[in-house]
């Protein structure tokens, strides 16, 4: 799975994108978040569910309940500020 980070989140995590191996079994965005937060430190803090971190799956807005597979592209980012 390809995981991307943008904006403030990319800076907090010091990472723009990475390849992530998901454990077998049914998965959702929430399982990806759990896996990343288990790294501790900045990961645990920045991806805290209390924070306003948005998610897109295959470049469409999703939620923590959106199903994901190993071939998906998942992106995490703060609320958008363009225009």
């Amino acid at each position: 799975m390809r995981v991307c980070y943008f904006g403030k989140l990319r800076e907090q995590l010091k990472q723009a994108e990475e390849s992530l191996d998901m454990p077998p079994g049914a998965q959702t965005v929430a399982s990806v978040v759990d896996l990343l937060r288990a790294r501790g430190g900045d990961w645990s803090e920045a991806l805290n569910d209390q924070g306003s971190v948005l998610v897109a799956v295959n470049q469409r807005m999703g939620t923590r309940q959106t199903p994901v597979t190993d071939t998906d592209e998942v992106a995490f980012f703060p609320p958008v500020t363009g225009g």
Binding site: G7, Q59, V80, G82, G83
Partner: protein, 150 residues
């Protein structure tokens, strides 16, 4: 139909000419240009504004919000140009141009496109001030502006 993301500046006059050259059905063209301001509410002088985006998703969202605008109003043409990269105060950030038979549709669609652009398209702004750099936070007023179309 067009949505573009680019580092280069745009020439609104040239884009307007292209709009007019495309046909004579439209009775109205409305355009909006967003600029980098040189100051924040709390009086910090802005030295530069850096915009990043999510390549791929951005183009998809621009096409989607144009599609939504076209479903709401009878529009002849739509153009969205959004810049990314490092910009200076006074620089142009975004151009939205809409043509329609009458001005009412063109004004409404232009405002709708800007409201949705600000709240749905994956762009992020970071500003450099005398006191360092920081990411701009999303504003409730922008969400409220977008919410009135729902």
């Amino acid at each position: 139909m067009a949505g573009r993301v680019q580092q280069a500046d745009f020439d609104a006059g040239r884009e307007l000419q292209a709009f007019r050259a495309a046909g004579t059905r439209a009775g109205a063209i409305v355009s909006f240009i967003g600029l980098v301001r040189d100051q924040l509410g709390d009086d910090d002088a802005i030295q530069a504004l850096t915009l990043e985006h999510y390549p791929g998703m951005t183009e998809r969202v621009l096409a989607n919000i144009e599609h939504q605008a076209r479903q709401r109003w009878g529009l002849d043409d739509v153009l969205i140009v959004h810049r990314v990269g490092r910009l200076q105060p006074g620089d142009q950030i975004v151009l939205v141009m809409v043509s329609a038979a009458h001005r009412g549709e063109a004004f409404a669609a232009c405002e709708f496109l800007m409201d949705y652009l600000k709240t749905k398209a994956p762009f992020w702004k970071k500003e450099d001030t005398d006191r360092g750099s920081r990411w701009i936070e999303a504003r409730d007023s922008d969400d409220q502006a977008a919410g009135r179309w729902e």
